[in-house]
Structure formats: C-alpha cells, structure tokens
Amino acid sequence: MADARSLTDLFGILGSRRVGETTSVGDSSVTQATEVSYPTQALQKFLRCLKGADNPLVLDLGPGVGTNVTFFGEQLGCRIRVEDVASDIDTHVKEGKLERLPEFFAGRFTQAPGSVDGILCWDIFDYLDRPAAQALATALCRLLKSDGCLLGLFSTAETPGQAYTKYVVVDESTLRYRPYPGQRQRQRNLLNGDIIKLFKDLRVTDSFLMKSRLREMLFRKPAPRA
C-alpha cells in the first residue's frame, strides 16, 4: 500500500497524467463543463476483488451512467443496481430537510445485510456532513458481504461551486470526470483518519493519492472472527 502511494506521488511530481480532454456533449444538464480523463488505480483493484465472485451484486451510488453499467456487467457478469444518492441529497436540499439525511440513509437500502459484493461510492461522501456521512457509511458496511469491497473517492482540495461529478469508466485504469450541476457543494474535506473512522468496520486495503486531487480508497470487509 505504501509503495503504491509513493509511486503515485512520484507520478504526480513527474508531471500531469491527464489522459485527455474532451468537451462535454450530449447531456443537456451539463453546462459547458469540461470533461477530463484521469488515471485510476483503485478501480482495477476493485474489479480484481470481484472477479472471483459468481454473479456478484454491485451497488453504484453515483448517478446512472449507461456505459458504466455495461462495463461492470461485461467485466464481472454482475447484477448492478444504481442507487443515485446524489439525487437523494438534492431532494433533501430542495425540501429543506437536510437534517433528516442520517435518518433517511439508515432506511435507504433494503437489500439484505451482507448481500452486496461491491459498492461504488465514488465521491458522494464529499457532499455529506458528518452525521449523514456516518449514517450512510454504517448502512453500507451493513450491506457488504464478508470480503466484499467498497470503492470511495475523497477530495483533498477545496472545490468551490455546486457540481457533482459523474465518473465515466473509460477502461479499468481511466476515469472520465464529467461534472454536472447539483444542489449541494462539497463539504469540508475528510482527512484520512476521518475516513477510516467512518468505515471502522472495514479494512483499508489500498489508498492512492491521485493527481486529480482525489484520494482513491479501497476497503474490504473482514470475515467475522470465529
């Protein structure tokens, strides 16, 4: 883990690893935002975690991206369920009920406990305050199977403006960041220790500090002790 992180930092020192830059097309909700592709280290490890599973169940907490559904389905032969938590947040913002988010997250997912093989959180925790983030993390930990894995992206820099990001999988080592407008801005950056406390029932297996100013973290749920 430490080696990987230092290698990533080294790439950062050597220069930008920006893969490409395209202008957003097609999605009317995006207002002339610039899409940028960045390398990802954690995604391929997430895929590796699930490749041995038979017809794994994956939850995608980001907004639905059709090509992502196809990608994960083809790579993993999985069942994938898109649960757009960003739209949940927006709904609560519009209704002025943000303080009810923790309660909402506690009952948001009705999948059986320990039934989910993998969870793609993307950067959704950046948009939550502490109580809501803790409630969501607890709910996700409960859903995850033993040895299941969870991928999260956490911002390490202040990003002004109210915009979410769709993470479009280009391939297993590249993500295209596609911003789109939302009702909520990023909250205070979570420190490494804060993140580990949020997911205290999980074990951090990999952590990468990326040039995109995101920390990619992969968690696994340890098997219960006999």
Binding site: G64, G66, T70, V82
Partner: protein
Amino acid sequence: MWKRDESVKPATPPAQTPVTTPSSPVAAGSAASDSRTQLGRDNVNIGKSVIIKGELSGSEDLTIEGHVEGRIDLKGNALTIGPNGKIKGEVFAKVVVVLGEVTGNVTASEKVDIRDNGSVDGDIVSPRVAIAEGAHFRGAVDMQRAGAKAQAKPAAPSQGQAPPQTQKVGA
C-alpha cells in the same frame, strides 16, 4: 443506393396470424383487423392506436407502437418498442430494443438496448445491456456471463429492493 426488389416478396401474406393474444380482450379494436397492423414476412408491427390487454406471444420479430398490458413472450425473436410504444408487463425476447416505455422486468437472451428517450422501469436480465445517454432506467441490471448460464433466467421480482429512484442515465 440499392433498390429493393419487391418481386422477391410473396404475393400473399402468411395465412396464419403470427401474434397470438390468448384471453386478450383488445380494448381498441382487434389487432388483426386494425388497418395499421402490418403483417410482413419477418416483422409484425402493432400500430400506435392498438391497445392489447393480455399475453402476447409469437415467433416473429415484433415492433410495438401501441400499448400492451401483459406479458410479452418472443423468446427467439427481437422485440422493438417504438417511440410511441408503452408496455406494462414482463418482457421476454432474444433482443429487446426500447425507444418507448416499459414498466416491468425485461429478460433478453441476447441483448437489451435502451435508446435515447427510451424508458425502462424494472429489472433487466441480459448478457448484454446498452443504455444510451438520455435514456431513463430504474431497476437492477443482471448481466450474466455468457458461459455462466446458457439462457437468461426471468428477472426476479423487484420486491424487497430499495425504493427505486428515477434516474436519468447518461454516459
């Protein structure tokens, strides 16, 4: 570029009605008698004024522009739900192309293709799924590996799942 050679087509349409609607009261007139229901050799088109309530099964490719309430079973053939088509019920086909609306689980042995402005509200089971930018989808996708199971199994009912959230799917 190429002009279609009409002489290849048979002069008379097939005698047997390719689409059956057992126990299906047709609310807006009989599908067979509807002038907009066109019977071709390989593809049946149900026009947008047709409403079918009941099970629909057949062994030819089918395009639906009308409304169907009930199960559609075209296991070996392609089903296209046109931009005006609305389906309420489970769908089974080899290939399902959605340009209209489907409310119900969709099972395809080959591919499900939700095109721009197409909408599916239900679970999808298919080895290949394509969801276009601008398509609406809420539910789960089960893409079993081709080698894992030869035939797609019917989608499990979505009861007990999380309350579905309407999503605008884009990529």
